[in-house]
């Protein structure tokens, strides 16, 4: 049984159509990540699920119930905002209890749920603090705690990590993943523009582009079988190499794509591409070589171990043929 379903959902702001017909099923307990470049409509879609943005046409269904016109508080959702959006004048406890208090829950229930959520997030010692007395990471935990207290059927996260610094972002990402693991029926929908966040957190990723779904799938499906150049280029770091012209012609298509780890440096020149190393990046455990093979952009090769390449040296590169992705004129994957 599906938990959350979007059927032909559209959204227009006057003349501008932000969401151009999205069909999507989010299963109960699933961690779904919406990812895409800015302006692709991912946040709008999340806000439509939340009820903060009206749905122009189509159906939004929660557990067989059409909720298009339900106000956010009656949808059984909870939202974690980018800027945390804590009530600045309330303590952590009050922030977390506010929703239950408005729903006229008993004091004992409020207290029990707030304390449980606080224990889960290890913020019990912060309950009497005001938001301004806490760090960014602590605030974001309180915001997540406020969502947990609501006991929602769907958790919605709107780029919750983008206000944190790099180190804290990784730590909080782990915690969100752990939280999803601990609360095994909790459905989570998470918006980000960062494909690393998407890859590490998601059960399934929904890649959006210009208000349409480009591809939905598990992280490895998207990585290994991208449907289009857009998805292939968006998912994975470093970016997939794309080659056109005669390189592609050999494989009977307009563009071929190959990931950095599927390129080998070889001694013999036959069936290989030839180029000159123009730049290297050393990441410790492995390193990247940027090779000019006569295309507009250099191609990137991942090599394990210490970097021993010499700039300017000519090398031969052989692609792993079974890992080549072929794309046609419409930039879609060829069979």
């Amino acid at each position: 049984m599906a938990n959350t379903e979007l059927k032909a959902v559209r959204k227009s702001f006057g003349q501008f159509e932000a969401i151009k017909g999205v069909d999507l099923e989010i299963k109960k307990g699933e961690f779904m990540v919406f990812v895409g470049p800015s302006g692709c409509g991912k946040s709008t879609l999340l806000r439509m699920i939340a009820g903060l943005e009206e749905i122009t046409s189509g159906d939004l269904i929660f557990d067989d119930e059409r909720v298009n016109n339900l106000v956010p508080s009656k949808r059984g959702i909870a939202m974690v905002f980018q800027s945390y959006a804590l009530y600045p004048h309330m303590t952590v406890y009050e922030n977390m209890a506010f929703g239950m208090q408005l729903a006229k829950a008993s004091k004992q229930d409020q207290d029990k749920r707030v304390r449980e959520a606080a224990t889960l997030l290890q913020i019990d010692h912060l309950l009497d603090r005001l938001p301004k007395q806490m760090s960014g990471g602590q605030r974001q935990r309180v915001a997540i705690g406020r969502a947990i207290v609501r006991d929602p059927r769907v958790f919605l996260f709107d780029e919750p990590l983008s206000n944190l610094d790099a180190a804290l972002r990784v730590a909080t990402r782990l915690e969100i993943a752990k939280l999803h693991h601990d609360m095994n029926d909790a459905t989570m929908v998470y918006v980000t523009h960062d494909q690393v966040e998407a890859m590490t957190l998601a059960d399934r990723i929904c890649v959006l582009r210009d208000g349409k779904v480009e591809q939905v799938g598990t992280p490895s499906e998207l990585y290994e079988q991208p449907n289009s150049i857009f998805v292939a280029g968006f998912i994975g770091s470093p970016k997939m190499n794309f080659l056109t012209g005669e390189f592609a012609a050999k494989f009977d298509c307009k563009t071929i794509g190959i990931r950095a780890e599927h390129l080998d440096i070889v001694a013999e020149a036959d069936n290989a591409w030839h180029g000159r190393i123009i730049h290297t990046e050393d990441l410790g455990a492995d390193h990247f070589l940027f090779v000019d093979i006569g295309l507009e952009e250099p191609i990137v090769i991942r090599q394990s171990g210490k970097n021993s390449a010499v700039l300017g040296r000519k090398i031969n590169i052989r692609p792993n043929v079974e890992n080549i992705h072929r794309f046609g004129r419409d930039d879609k994957k060829l069979a």
């Binding site: 106000v71 939202m79 905002f81 800027s83 804590l86 009530y87 600045p88 506010f98 729903a103 609501r150």
Partner: protein, 276 residues
């Protein structure tokens, strides 16, 4: 930064001039208020006599104290009423998209710039019809004409600046607009409320035309009217000493308030003016 000594001297001379011109009239009123008898008629820049008899004169006139009480009452009630109505209205104007919002804002701005004289005769009729002529309520009612649009306008600009995500978080928590106003925004807006209220209070405290028109008996007057109509035994004998004492009495609290809330007042004035 490389200013020559001459440039510096000119600069500080200008600064000194600005300060002296700003402060001198009040200073002069202050020293005059301490002078009595013939000393008062001798122009002097430095204080020469110190006597409190002018203040005694002012305070022994019972009607002056009455006027102060009237003014405080009228200005406070006016401001409280205006803030009460303005908070809810400015939430609607600042945070909800609805048809006719722009027109409504322009109308409100227009009303705040009404010439008071344009409503005088109609208001006079209304005040009489309600039976509140020569009562404080007549002034509370009439001052609402300028305090209400002003507070709505300024609070709307402040309300716009509150972050949208906090409101959305409250919506998700199930807060109605009324709950958002009373439990989320009011606690965040109180500095803006103080500023707006203070500016409206000064406006109501200083108002003269309506106060002159809608009161007749000495006991119902407000401070500005009382000072304007303070006169001596004969027409030509203007009691300058007591007038200056009364002026100092009503001005000192205002100046203190303005100096204490200096930054906030500047923010409020510019919110009403520039950002408009």
């Amino acid at each position: 930064m490389g200013r020559s000594i001459l440039q510096n001297m000119v600069f500080y001379f200008v600064v000194a001039l600005i300060v002296i011109i700003s402060v001198f009239p009040f200073y002069y009123a202050l020293i005059t208020s301490f002078e009595t008898g013939t000393a008062i008629f001798k122009p002097n820049v430095l204080p020469e006599v110190f006597s409190l008899s002018n203040y005694e004169t002012v305070f022994t006139q019972r009607s002056f104290l009455r006027s102060v009480v009237n003014s405080v009452f009228i200005a406070s009630v006016t401001v409280l009423c205006a803030l009460l109505l303005a908070v809810t209205a400015s939430f609607a104007l600042a945070r909800v998209q609805f048809r006719g919002r722009g027109l409504l804002l322009i109308t409100i701005l227009g009303v705040s710039m009404f010439p008071q004289i344009a409503v005088l005769s109609g208001l006079f009729e209304l005040v009489n019809a309600l039976g509140i002529y020569n009562k404080p309520w007549a002034l509370v009612l009439s001052y609402t004409i300028f305090t209400l649009p002003f507070t709505v306008w300024v609070l709307t600009t402040f309300m716009r600046d509150l972050p949208i995500e906090i409101e959305e978080a409250a919506i998700v928590d199930g807060a109605t607009p009324w709950v958002i106003i009373t439990r989320i925004f009011l606690p965040l807006l109180w500095p803006a409320l103080v500023t707006t209220g203070l500016l409206a209070f000064i406006g109501a405290w200083n108002e003269f035309l309506f106060a002159l028109t809608f009161t007749i008996s000495e006991t119902e007057r407000t401070v500005p009217v009382a000072i304007a109509l303070l006169s001596g035994a004969s027409v030509n004998e203007i009691p300058w000493g007591p007038i200056m004492a009364a002026s100092v009495i009503v001005t000192v609290p205002l100046i203190l308030l303005v100096l204490i809330f200096q930054r906030k007042i500047v923010a409020g004035l510019t919110a009403g003016g520039v950002k408009g």
